[in-house]
């Protein structure tokens, strides 16, 4: 426990001219025949085979975040918000440019968070701990913490498949918010459903967000952005359309002025 006192170096995110292309392989482009033909025959068939659809999901995106930054990503569907989050999480590697992230990272992207419905609650917690490279004792603490939050009782040792939907949400949420990262990347679904969450869930989430050095949040709910973010990047077709203080960019995006509601 001595190490706990030693503060980790401050988290940073630097993305320089990042571009990510997404190949869309429909049935024919995935076919081996096409690829073989294109090398064998050269010329026309090659042109055909290379006519696969490539979505330029991110184009020349640069951003730099330091400790304390709260960035919101806004933009319509397919603007590249989730792709940018995945790129910052190191899941997608850029085809051009450079991404550098320093500090422990947690990306809340997938509502099920890789939970296996066939495994018991306890096993799912253990696996998550192992994915995060936690030690045995840290996994035990993780288990206690999530069990206390999710309030599953003896369901902890039953497969997640038999849980009620409320229990699944509690377990998934408790698990996702149990490990405090320095860099927190979050997709909007996590905050959008706040009406259905109990007060303690909200408190827990706020606690995690406050504990993070850097927050990057993707959403298209203006209220969420104003609540959580100080800076906003507006993505449009994979490009940065605007970047600046939350109110200013949001006003531009919505086409009418917005102002921060006084904190409740």
């Amino acid at each position: 426990m001595q190490r706990a006192a030693e503060a980790p170096p401050a988290a940073t995110i630097d993305a320089e001219h990042v571009s990510v292309d997404f190949p869309l392989y429909h049935s024919s482009a995935r076919s081996l025949k096409r690829a073989v033909f294109s090398t064998v025959s050269g010329g026309r068939v090659a042109a055909d085979a290379n006519r696969r659809v490539v979505v330029q999901a991110l184009r020349d995106v640069s951003l730099s975040l330091r400790s304390g930054d709260r960035l919101g990503l806004i933009g319509g569907n397919g603007a590249g918000k989730t792709t940018l989050l995945r790129t910052l999480a190191g899941i997608y590697e850029p085809q051009a440019g450079r991404v550098r992230v320093r500090g422990s990272l947690n990306a809340l992207l997938d509502p099920n968070l890789g939970m296996n419905p066939e495994l018991t609650g306890r096993e799912n917690i253990m696996l998550r701990g192992l994915y995060d490279g936690l030690t045995r004792s840290a996994i035990r603490r993780l288990e206690e913490d999530v069990a206390a939050f999710a309030d599953l009782g003896e369901f902890m040792d039953l497969p997640v498949r038999v849980y009620s939907s409320g229990m699944v949400v509690r377990l998934g949420f408790g698990l996702a918010t149990a490990i405090r990262p320095q860099v927190l990347l979050m997709d909007e679904w996590f905050l959008a459903g706040d009406a259905s969450f109990m007060d303690k869930a909200r408190a827990r989430l706020e606690d995690m967000v406050r504990g993070a050095d850097i927050l990057v949040l993707s959403t298209h709910v203006p209220g969420v952005v104003l609540d959580w973010c100080t800076r906003v990047i507006w993505l449009d077709q994979g490009r940065v359309r605007a970047d600046g203080p939350a109110e200013a960019v949001l006003s531009e995006y919505l086409g009418h002025p917005v102002s921060r509601t006084p904190p409740a």
Partner: protein, 285 residues
């Protein structure tokens, strides 16, 4: 209470991602992928073990269903083929038990290897993990299955009052070769099958044909003067380096040379392909 990240406890996450254009940079990335996987060996082991447990959860015999079905197959095929080939059951049954169990490992591994990455699509898309971890998980899972099937071999040996002698120890280097090859197969087939969806059926038919060509149910000696042809068959030579010592025989030098050459080719292919496409796998699954 929350589990705060303690320095040195949570997985260090210092990313520096650029498109690796340079050859040397790509090789370094592969090495880093491998060492990251090695550090997560506990996760790897748990995933492999849970895979087996899940498949048989709620069943009475659990993973020993594997053993039972192998035993039934060995017994029934043993009787039929001993009659067909007019062979002594005492001599043929140990051979067949070994062959079928080892071949079962090989064919299951190749089949699973095709799904190394496509089967864990959700995981790949939600968290950054070293890709070779998924390959190691498949190798481990199949080793566990093999361990359950070893019971059948032991039972046959006991039943036939056989003892392979000290020569059996010589199958260990062969087994080590298998492990590295198995890992390479997953690393090679994983990305290929993610990119080209018609490779898995091709692979499964190749394995099926190889089953009949590789002296699994018939004995290599039955080819008589044409036996040397088998030396070119990688499936046969790899099978032989493990099987022959367990039957109390020495694999010939040529069998070993062929097994090593094919393995070296496999490792090179796997390494080069993986180094080249590693960064693209997340887009393909």
């Amino acid at each position: 209470m929350m589990v705060a990240p303690r320095h040195g406890e949570s997985r260090p996450n210092n990313l520096d991602l650029t498109p690796d254009a340079a050859f040397a940079a790509r090789q370094r990335t592969v090495l880093r992928d491998l060492s990251d996987s090695a550090r997560l060996w506990r996760l790897c082991w748990s995933l492999a073990w849970l895979d087996i447990r899940l498949r048989y959860r709620g069943s009475m015999l659990g993973p020993f269903w594997l053993t039972l079905s192998t035993a039934v197959m060995v017994a029934s095929m043993g009787v039929v083929y001993a009659l067909l080939f007019r062979m002594n059951l005492h001599e043929y049954l140990p051979f067949l038990a070994l062959s079928l169990v080892l071949w079962g490992f090989l064919s299951q591994l190749v089949g699973d290897g095709c799904g190394t990455f496509t089967d864990v699509e959700g995981m790949i898309r939600s968290v950054r993990m070293p890709f070779t971890l998924y390959a190691a998980r498949i190798v481990l899972r199949n080793l566990l299955v093999l361990a359950h099937n070893l019971v059948v071999i032991v039972a046959v040996y006991v039943l036939m009052a056989l003892w392979p002698g000290l020569r059996a120890v010589l199958s260990l280097p062969g087994m080590a070769l298998w492990l590295v090859d198995a890992f390479a197969i997953c690393v090679l087939l994983g990305p290929l099958c993610a990119r080209f969806r018609d490779i898995p059926p091709i692979v499964s038919s190749i394995v099926q044909i190889a089953f009949f060509l590789s002296a699994v149910i018939w004995k290599p000696g039955q080819l008589e003067s044409h036996e040397w042809l088998l030396t070119f068959n990688p499936f046969f030579t790899l099978l032989e380096v493990v099987r022959a010592p367990l039957l109390g025989e020495f694999p010939s030098l040529w069998v070993w040379i062929s097994a090593l050459l094919w393995s070296a080719a496999l490792w090179c292919a796997a390494w080069l392909l993986f180094a080249r496409v590693r960064g693209r796998i997340a887009f393909w699954v």
